[in-house]
Symmetry: D2
Amino acid sequence: MQLGMIGLGRMGSNMVRRLITGGHHCVAFDVFPDAVAAVVKEGATGTASLPEFVKTLDQPRVVWLMVPAAVVDKTLQELVPLLEAGDIVIDGGNSYYIDDIRRAGELKAEGLHYVDVGTSGGVWGLERGYCMMIGGESPVVSHLDPIFRTLAPPIDSVPSTPGREALGGTAEHGYLHCGPSGAGHFVKMVHNGIEYGIMAAYAEGMAILNHANIGKRHHEVDAETTPLRNPEHYQYDINVRDVAEVWRRGSVISSWLLDLTASALLKDPALAKFSGRVSDSGEGRWTVKAAIDEAVPAPVLTTALFERFYSRGESDFADKLLSALRYEFGGHVEKPAGS
Amino acid sequence: MQLGMIGLGRMGSNMVRRLITGGHHCVAFDVFPDAVAAVVKEGATGTASLPEFVKTLDQPRVVWLMVPAAVVDKTLQELVPLLEAGDIVIDGGNSYYIDDIRRAGELKAEGLHYVDVGTSGGVWGLERGYCMMIGGESPVVSHLDPIFRTLAPPIDSVPSTPGREALGGTAEHGYLHCGPSGAGHFVKMVHNGIEYGIMAAYAEGMAILNHANIGKRHHEVDAETTPLRNPEHYQYDINVRDVAEVWRRGSVISSWLLDLTASALLKDPALAKFSGRVSDSGEGRWTVKAAIDEAVPAPVLTTALFERFYSRGESDFADKLLSALRYEFGGHVEKPAGS
Amino acid sequence: MQLGMIGLGRMGSNMVRRLITGGHHCVAFDVFPDAVAAVVKEGATGTASLPEFVKTLDQPRVVWLMVPAAVVDKTLQELVPLLEAGDIVIDGGNSYYIDDIRRAGELKAEGLHYVDVGTSGGVWGLERGYCMMIGGESPVVSHLDPIFRTLAPPIDSVPSTPGREALGGTAEHGYLHCGPSGAGHFVKMVHNGIEYGIMAAYAEGMAILNHANIGKRHHEVDAETTPLRNPEHYQYDINVRDVAEVWRRGSVISSWLLDLTASALLKDPALAKFSGRVSDSGEGRWTVKAAIDEAVPAPVLTTALFERFYSRGESDFADKLLSALRYEFGGHVEKPAGS
Amino acid sequence: MQLGMIGLGRMGSNMVRRLITGGHHCVAFDVFPDAVAAVVKEGATGTASLPEFVKTLDQPRVVWLMVPAAVVDKTLQELVPLLEAGDIVIDGGNSYYIDDIRRAGELKAEGLHYVDVGTSGGVWGLERGYCMMIGGESPVVSHLDPIFRTLAPPIDSVPSTPGREALGGTAEHGYLHCGPSGAGHFVKMVHNGIEYGIMAAYAEGMAILNHANIGKRHHEVDAETTPLRNPEHYQYDINVRDVAEVWRRGSVISSWLLDLTASALLKDPALAKFSGRVSDSGEGRWTVKAAIDEAVPAPVLTTALFERFYSRGESDFADKLLSALRYEFGGHVEKPAGS
């Protein structure tokens, strides 16, 4: 079927490619003409302005937004006046689900339909297919089924869960209508919260392996420092690159993130080209806020988020206060780095 | 090659089966004669006592212990006097790596070799193959290579990490010599620590999805309770069974533990047959202790461990003290369950 | 000076008493006539309705609301139309500071002034005085200075911070103008977040002392359970009642919350009349949300909040999923309580 | 009574001063003759060698060790052969209680008595008195009662816990016999674990206040960064110096550590002379290990420990791995500091 794509960054352009390969017709727009030209070469219909984009689409129009969450509302402000009753707008980016609820109401007042789609798969989606979590009105979501089925991974790319075949539904096909407006991004939000937790679990574990030779280092003895009690227990030079690889094979913790860990450590076992300042991009924060509102304890997901804050030096004032307090009550002077 | 297996529980008997299928010869012993009889039916040579077991094995003997960590030392007390110089003892259970270091020294004094093997794969290992992390002397580990290669998953059961082929080594074959005595169980210990973290990440996330309809519940208004500020944001009845399935397909958080999550929720979406008392079996605790000794922050792995303690009601006294304090400073009376 | 108090619960009526004792004139209103009658006996002017209350006050009126956070807006809806330009409304309860910002704007449009006062001191405030954190316009806050000074503890009730005398200001007098609207409740919110953290620190520590005799208990040996490695290290029957008392005297962790801990344990060392279901009342949650918005890591305050959720059984689904996963990958069956 | 002090650092020399002021007779030894000379000026009997020190003391000798935990065993190796049956050795430093258990056994074999004393009070103890937690044999602890009573704060320096007077005992006098050998340092260990938690609670809270103006900063918009949703909610320039002071006065979180916080922020509101590298000195780590052995959840105390590890950059490898993973799955490039 026909789909209009606004936003041809990494994700949007790959989706256009996968849709075209799957036999769909894509009309494309981006504020950067070069991005449009690139997908035109692969079979998309390019447009040079939002009005042209809208005019090129058949009614009821299907418009997929793949733009940064921070500019969705701005894009909608320009787009919505150009649309007509019955048209469908899909937000496939990383919007906060609370914005979806609001936008769905606003668009409904204009006779438009709003569908929120949380999309996972990253730069690998073109090849593997995208996992999609969808929120919106049932008939509208059903209407878009051919799009979702093409974007998602083929059912046989992953072994079936035994017993699942009796159930039917689209989950096995890699996309799921999760509920009314916002439900798609809500589920995607929690997905990313879990992602933070899993990443942190591997990172902490790998760090423990990486420091397993700490008993070989010299430690001075003074009143401030606890000497390592049993240095003979920490004499291991663990090859974390090989450990990541072996865990991929038959272990309980094999996963796609572990595959990527093995790949990253293969390229650069010391990870020397990274400084370790870890960004966080919204969903992790929102997941914790949801947990709090629901009174559901989520210390692992929260701690994983805070670890990213620490990595960026955000605990600076707190740390200084701890040092100041140690000085106040015990006369303890800070030890310089490297000691 | 020939291998003697002591301990024919779930893990030990499955390993015997996999080894026999792979062309090896197994001599088996267990304190329960029925367990011995079961593997004899599948081609193992059964023995009725430890002396008979040792006598049946060719020199240098290869003895694999697959017994609870708590009885390894007791078994060694009986076994070691029966062995002869050059024999090899493998501990394939869940020993603390610190015990490995000690035992390796004790056996070396008797002219024996000790190899520690951390084994992951659980009840699925028979079918999928076991992931093995190995500690000990290099020539001894090399000598046992045929055993490890048979127990491990075949190399083509998992897609290669691109670029890995140039490296060689056994990691791609599902087993890894991690270092001297204890290194195998050290790596396995951290593996399980990570496992706790990943499991907790999924569990917390699923719980947040499961409570996404909390806005539908009635909440009373009093000075003690914070009313949910935006109940309209928590009106979702999420089908966690289907979410687990869809995440298996193309998402960043696909993993074997997610496969099992999907399987568990498929059988019983409400998990009604579980009470939620979660055991922990040593490695999670030891991982945290190692992190502390190494001064490596590991809050996610630690929190995942503590969640299990909470699940068993171990915070009882602390919770009572919090209630008592709230009563002391604010006259706050505890609210009964269900309110 | 004259002050009108709406809300004569525990906190409001005690404040009226302290103000009257301090020479101020209080006009009082509450929906429960008995509450009004009680403070009339102590010298307040009672009123039977909101209109009567407003009429009784001199202009510019000073109205202090001491009602549950959840009914502040409802109270303002009835009160505001009765007030006149220049009147001052103080919210002394536990409002979310974000509501203060909104309300201050709404009241400003009516020519009214809004002051938010976070108040700490609980049931002890009548005797000790209240610690007040204040947000609002400077001239209005200055106008109310006599009220704050009376409600606060006398300066000599706490030893001076050496060097502080040179600074002046009201902080030494137990109240502080923290900034524009919302600043008072913002600081109070963080105060309570800290309170959660401190309470949790004592509770966890006391629990560790309370279980220091765990080595005396019998533990069975099986593959699921880690035996306590050194039971001889956990043979202490610590008297936590006496420990709390001794820590009050010269230790680094002496505090008012420790005083209350000592008091609670003195009355009931086993805390047997508490079940351990710990409420949380908003500020702890909001503190974490603020930390997240600010990208400030706050794992201690967050964990302290989550401990309260755990105490109320809110991790039920997550725990069941962990048990289900352990069953899936390892065939582990849950152990019953008490084992 | 007579007491011999070995170790005349900050703590040891102050204790000698307090004992002499209290009418006791002190014999002093330190490896630094200047330290001995300093206390001789204040009335102590100085000695120039360990044999002279021992010879100077009357039998049964009372020897108090106030040396770094790491050199206690070395000191005992030299001291014990010089002592005679019935002599008493007190370790007043920060020993691991597990070492106390071992040492008590070793000294008992020589007919000597060993008493472990956990001491809190830091540099303030000379003036305020020391809080002491004591482990050892009851008759020996009773024999030392005059020493403990002098070192501890006077009973009337802290208000009584109401109802406590009926109980008797020494807790009100600032020292407590907590149990057999090791019990003193066990309780002190947990005391310090709690101290870490409380300090972290204040530090996190103060940091949240300190960043309450984050809404004033400009934030760019891109796909990697979550814009602050409501910058208007974070416009506060909070004076943390004054907040610390006001909380000392009537609030629920007043404490000695808060007094020190107010003092530190008074001297230097920006804490500019501290870099924020926070040491940890053993007890915090041991507390967590004890919690794990006891299966008592202690996430607040643990997190407070890990915060110190973070402050020293110990998460470096883990952070790099997170960045590497983000690059692998999403092509996310690290953002430089300051962006």
